[in-house]
C-alpha cells in the first residue's frame, strides 16, 4: 500500500513519475476526445480501429527487423499502428458500403479479422526471437512499466496537442455533434470535422497502446465521457469532467498496476474508470439511479397522499356531512388497495403535514380534514372530476370508464390547464354550475368508499 502511495505522490523515482504523468495526460486526452466520440456515436468504430492496430504494430516490427533496424523503437511501432488503424477504418467503410453488409457487421468483422491477422503475425515474430519481440505482447493489455521516460514524454506531448486541438475546434465540434445538417447548411466542412474526430481517436489510441493496450483502450475513450454525462447537460463541463475522470483513472490505475503483480495495467485502468462510472451511475444528483429512485418514491408518496385526501373528501361528501365531517379510518383503509402498513404511513404523513386530524371516537379512530387539508382535497377532487367530465364530453368515453384515467391525471394538472379545462367544459355546457373556490362538480359516476359520519349521518356510503 505504501508503494502505491509513493507512486501516487510522485516519490517513486523519476522514471516512474514521468510514466505516471504521461499516462495521466493520455487519460485526459482520452476523456476529451471520448466526449465527441460518444456524441458522434462512434464508440464502437473506435473499438474496431483499436483492434486493427495489432497487425500494424507487429508488421512494423517485422519490417524493421527485416531491414535490420531495431524493431523496438516506439515511433516505428506507432506509425505502423496508425497506418493499420487507418486501413481498418477504410475497410469498415468499404465493407459497409457493399450492399449486403451493414455497419455493425463491418465493424465486428474488421475488429476480429485484423486482430486475428495480428495474432498470426505475432506467432511468426515470436519464433524469430528477434530482440524486443517479447514486448509486443504488452501492446495488447498495456504495460506502462516497460515505458522509458522519453516515450512517456512523447505520449504526454501528443496528448497535450490533442487536447489543444479539441479546445481550438470546440465550437465547430459541438455543432457537428448536435446538428450536423445545420452545420452543413451553414457551410461548415462537416466531413472534414468528422474525419478530424476519427483522426484524434487514432492518435489517442496509438499513444494509449503502451499504457492501456489496444484491447481495452476503447473503454478509456467511452467510460469517463459516459460517466461525465451523468453529472451535467452542458458540453463544455462534460468535456472537462471527462478529462478529469480519464486522467484520474489512468493516474490511479497505473500506480496500482505497477505495484500489484500480474495485474495488466489496461485492466486496472479500465476497472478504475468503471468504478468511477458506477459511482456516477448511482450517485449523480439528477440523473443517477439513487436520485431518480428518491424522486420516484417522493412522487409516489405525493400521489398516494392526494388519493387519500380525495378519498376522505368523497367519503365526507357522500355522507352528506358538511366540512369537518369525520371519516372512519378502518373503512377508509379498505377503500383503495393500500396495504395496512402503507395506509398507516400515509395517514401519519398527512397528519404530520397538518392536513388531517386523527381523533379517537367510540367506534374507533376517525380522521377529519383540517382547513388546509380540505382545500388541497378539494383541489385534487376538482381536478379529478373536471378531467372525468372532459373525457365524457370531449372524448365521448362512458362515465364508468373515466375514473382510472382521472386517477392518474389529477396529480399533474396545473392551474393554467385547469382553467382551460373549465373553459372547454363550459363551452360545451358540460359544467352544470358555475364554480367558485368551494365545492367540486358532482361525480359523474357512483363513488364507493368509506362511510361518512357526522351531522346528518344516516345516508352512509353511496
Amino acid at each position: 500500500m505504501g508503494d502505491v502511495l509513493d507512486i501516487l505522490a510522485l516519490r517513486a523515482g523519476y522514471n516512474t513519475s514521468v510514466v505516471l504523468a504521461g499516462a495521466t495526460l493520455l487519460g485526459v486526452a482520452a476523456g476529451v476526445v471520448g466526449t465527441f466520440t460518444l456524441l458522434r456515436r462512434r464508440a464502437l468504430m473506435s473499438d474496431a480501429l483499436a483492434h486493427a492496430t495489432f497487425p500494424g504494430i507487429v508488421g512494423a516490427f517485422l519490417a524493421a527487423a527485416l531491414l535490420g533496424v531495431s524493431g523496438r523503437s516506439m515511433p516505428v511501432l506507432l506509425v505502423g499502428a496508425a497506418v493499420a488503424a487507418v486501413m481498418g477504418v477504410l475497410s469498415v467503410h468499404a465493407l459497409s458500403r457493399s450492399a449486403r453488409i451493414n455497419e455493425d457487421a463491418a465493424i465486428a468483422v474488421v475488429l476480429s479479422v485484423f486482430f486475428g491477422l495480428g495474432a498470426v503475425l505475432l506467432s511468426y515474430v515470436v519464433r524469430l526471437e528477434a530482440h524486443g519481440q517479447a514486448g509486443l505482447r504488452h501492446f495488447l493489455l498495456g504495460q506502462p512499466a516497460a515505458m522509458s521516460a522519453g516515450e512517456a514524454k512523447l505520449i504526454g506531448a501528443v496528448a497535450v496537442v490533442a487536447v489543444v486541438a479539441c479546445a481550438a475546434l470546440f465550437k465547430e465540434l459541438r455543432l457537428v455533434c448536435f446538428d450536423r445538417s445545420f452545420a452543413r447548411a451553414q457551410g461548415w466542412p462537416v466531413d472534414a470535422l468528422d474525419l478530424g474526430i476519427l483522426g484524434l481517436v487514432v492518435v489517442v489510441t496509438v499513444i494509449g497502446l503502451q499504457s492501456v493496450g489496444l484491447v481495452l483502450i476503447v473503454a478509456l475513450l467511452i467510460t469517463p465521457a459516459a460517466a461525465a454525462r451523468f453529472w451535467t447537460e452542458r458540453l463544455w463541463l462534460m468535456t472537462v469532467l471527462g478529462a478529469v475522470l480519464g486522467g484520474v483513472s489512468c493516474y490511479v490505475g497505473v500506480a496500482i498496476s505497477a505495484v500489484l503483480p500480474r495485474a495488466p495495467a489496461g485492466a486496472v485502468i479500465v476497472l478504475t474508470a468503471s468504478a468511477v462510472f458506477l459511482v456516477s451511475l448511482f450517485f449523480a444528483p439528477n440523473r443517477g439511479v439513487a436520485a431518480r429512485a428518491v424522486r420516484s418514491a417522493r412522487f409516489s408518496l405525493d400521489v398516494e397522499q392526494q388519493h387519500l385526501l380525495r378519498a376522505v373528501y368523497e367519503a365526507v361528501e357522500s355522507s352528506g356531512a358538511g366540512s369537518g365531517g369525520a371519516v372512519d379510518v378502518e373503512g377508509l383503509g379498505r377503500s383503495r388497495s393500500w396495504s395496512r402498513a402503507r395506509f398507516a404511513v400515509l395517514l401519519r404523513v398527512l397528519a404530520l403535514r397538518g392536513w388531517v386530524r386523527v381523533v379517537e371516537g367510540e367506534e374507533g379512530r376517525a380522521c377529519v380534514l383540517t382547513g388546509r387539508g380540505e382545500r388541497e382535497a378539494l383541489r385534487v377532487t376538482r381536478n379529478h372530476r373536471l378531467w372525468e367530465q372532459y373525457l365524457i364530453s370531449h372524448a365521448e368515453l362512458a362515465p364508468t370508464h373515466v375514473d382510472r384515467s382521472a386517477d392518474m391525471i389529477e396529480h399533474v394538472l396545473g392551474r393554467e390547464l385547469v382553467e382551460r379545462l373549465e373553459e372547454a367544459l363550459r363551452g360545451r355546457g358540460a359544467l352544470p354550475v358555475p364554480l367558485d373556490e368551494r365545492g367540486a362538480p358532482p361525480s359523474p359516476h357512483p363513488i364507493h368508499g368509506g362511510r361518512g359520519r357526522g351531522a346528518g349521518g344516516g345516508e352512509g356510503g353511496a
Binding site: A105, A108, V113, S123, L271
Partner: protein
C-alpha cells in the same frame, strides 16, 4: 504402412485432429448461430456477449476449481444477466447511445475477467493467462488416447476425446437441432418481429433463446479460439453467405459450410502448411481461422455473382453500353431528319458523343455494327441500316412522347424537358409491353412540344 508413417499418422490424430475438430466445430457452431445476429443487425451484441461472459467463466473456474462446462455456462449466464441490467440502467439514466452503454459494460466486465484470470492462475496453481482469453488454446487440445484413424471407431478412445471437443460437439448439435426445428419461427422473428408477435410466435422469448445459445457457443468456443476471435466466427461466415444468396435456408447451410472450411482450412494453413514447407514452427491457428474467414468474406463481397462488386460493375458497364448504343441510334436518326435524307452519315467521334466516354462509346459503336443496326459507309462515317432505323424510330418516338407528356400533363416548360426525356426514353424504348403500358395517352399526338413530328406507332409485326 511403414512404422514412421504410422507414427506420424498417430501423431496427427493425437495433436492435430482434435485441434482441427475443435476449431471447425467452434466455427460451425458460431457461424450457424451468427446468422441471426447478422440478420438482426446485432453483430456487436455478439461482440459484447463474448466479452461479457469472461468474468462469469473465470469466477466459475475459481470457485469450482474446474473447467467443466456446466458451471461455466451458468457463470456465463449470470454475467449475461448482470450485463443486461447494467446496460439498461445506463441507457435510461445517462441517455447514452445504446452502443456506447454496451461498450462501457462489456469492456468493464472483460477487464474484470482479465484481471481475475491473471490472479486466478495463482489461486489455483495453474498457469493460465490472458493469452488464452485473447486467442484460445487450440494448440493445447490433445487426444492422448488416439493411436491412429482406427481410434475413431474405438469407443474406449472416443470416450477420452478432449473435453473441449465434446462440449463443442454438444453445443453444435443443439444449435443445429434448434435451427432446423424452429426454422420458420426464427425466420419470421429475424425479418419482422412485429409480424411474428401477431402471428403468435413469442418473439421476445425466441430472441432470448437465440442470445442464450450465442452465449453458450461463445463459452464453448472460448477455449478453442478465445473471446475476440470468436466474433469473427459469429459474423464472417454468415455475412459471406449473405452475399451469395437471398434465401435464408440456403444462407444457413452455406454459412455452416463456409465456417467449416474456415475452421479446417485455417488450422491446416497455420499448423500444417508451414511444417510442410519446411519451417520449424507453425503459426497461430485461431488467428488464421479468423483471417481465412475474413478472406472468404472479401472474396464473397467482390466476386459474388449476384451482389459482388465485380458483378455489379459488369452490370453497370452493360447498362452504360446499352444506353450509349441507344443514344447513338437516336443521334443518327436526328441527323437524318435534319439532313432530310436517309442514310446520312455521321463521323465516329460525333456519333459517339461526349456523354459516355470514349471507351464505352467505341464499345457501343462496335456493338451496333455487330447487331446490324449501323453500317460503316466510308472511312470514319457510319449510317443507320434499315433495322437500325426501326430501332431508332422507337427511341425517338419514346423521347418525344415523353416530352409531350412532361409539357402537357406534368406542366413542365418545353425547354426543360429534353434532359429528362433523354433519360426516360431508355426505359420505354425496349420491349413492346413496356412501351405500351408506360407511354400514356399522349399517344395520339402528332408533334412534340418543339414541333417535331412524333413518329407514328409502328405496325405490329406480322
Amino acid at each position: 504402412m511403414s512404422g514412421g508413417g504410422g507414427a506420424e499418422l498417430a501423431l496427427f490424430f493425437v495433436i492435430d485432429f482434435p485441434a482441427m475438430l475443435a476449431g471447425t466445430l467452434a466455427a460451425v457452431c458460431c457461424g450457424l448461430l451468427g446468422n441471426f445476429l447478422v440478420l438482426r443487425r446485432m453483430s456487436l451484441t455478439g461482440d459484447a456477449i463474448s466479452h461479457a461472459v469472461l468474468p462469469g467463466i473465470v469466477i466459475a473456474f475459481i470457485v469450482l476449481g474446474t473447467r467443466a462446462s456446466m458451471p461455466m455456462l451458468l457463470g456465463a449466464a449470470a454475467a449475461g444477466v448482470v450485463t443486461v441490467v447494467l446496460v439498461e440502467l445506463i441507457r435510461s439514466g445517462a441517455r447514452v447511445d445504446p452502443d456506447a452503454s454496451l461498450g462501457v459494460v462489456f469492456s468493464a466486465m472483460f477487464a474484470l475477467g482479465v484481471l481475475l484470470i491473471e490472479r486466478a492462475g495463482q489461486l489455483r496453481n495453474i498457469d493460465i493467462d490472458a493469452d488464452c482469453v485473447l486467442y484460445g488454446e487450440l494448440e493445447h487440445i490433445h487426444w492422448l488416447a488416439a493411436t491412429g484413424p482406427e481410434s475413431l471407431l474405438d469407443p474406449a478412445a472416443l470416450a477420452q476425446m478432449p473435453r473441449q471437443v465434446v462440449t463443442l460437439a454438444a453445443v453444435t448439435l443443439v444449435a443445429v437441432v434448434v435451427v432446423v426445428a424452429f426454422f420458420k419461427e426464427l425466420r419470421v422473428v429475424c425479418f419482422d418481429p412485429g409480424l411474428a408477435t401477431t402471428l403468435g410466435f413469442p418473439a421476445r422469448w425466441i430472441n432470448l433463446v437465440m442470445l442464450g445459445l450465442v452465449a453458450a457457443a461463445t463459452v464453448a468456443s472460448f477455449e478453442a479460439v478465445g473471446s475476440i476471435l470468436v466474433v469473427a466466427m459469429l459474423v464472417c461466415p454468415a455475412a459471406t453467405a449473405r452475399t451469395l444468396t437471398d434465401r435464408m435456408s440456403v444462407q444457413l447451410w452455406l454459412s455452416a459450410a463456409i465456417a467449416a472450411v474456415s475452421g479446417a482450412g485455417g488450422y491446416v494453413l497455420a499448423a500444417l502448411v508451414p511444417l510442410w514447407m519446411g519451417a520449424e514452427h507453425s503459426l497461430q491457428a485461431s488467428g488464421m481461422i479468423a483471417v481465412v474467414a475474413g478472406a472468404l468474406l472479401v472474396l464473397g463481397v467482390v466476386f459474388s455473382p449476384s451482389h459482388g462488386v465485380v458483378a455489379r460493375a459488369v452490370r453497370m458497364g452493360r447498362l452504360r453500353v446499352r444506353i450509349a448504343r441507344e443514344d447513338a441510334l437516336a443521334r443518327l436518326y436526328r441527323h437524318e431528319e435534319r439532313a432530310g435524307a436517309e442514310g446520312a452519315a455521321l463521323g465516329g467521334a460525333e456519333l459517339v458523343g461526349a456523354l459516355e466516354g470514349v471507351v464505352i462509346g467505341r464499345v457501343a459503336l462496335r456493338s451496333l455494327i455487330r447487331r446490324g443496326l449501323v453500317e460503316r459507309v466510308e472511312g470514319d462515317a457510319f449510317a443507320l441500316t434499315g433495322a437500325g432505323r426501326e430501332a431508332a424510330v422507337e427511341l425517338v418516338r419514346s423521347h418525344r412522347l415523353w416530352e409531350a407528356y412532361l409539357v402537357h400533363e406534368a406542366g413542365q416548360r418545353p425547354d426543360h424537358v429534353h434532359r429528362a426525356a433523354m433519360e426516360l426514353e431508355h426505359l420505354t424504348a425496349e420491349g413492346e409491353s413496356g412501351r405500351g403500358r408506360l407511354v400514356p395517352e399522349s399517344d395520339s399526338r402528332e408533334t412534340d412540344p418543339h414541333d417535331r413530328p412524333i413518329p407514328p406507332r409502328p405496325p405490329p409485326a406480322s
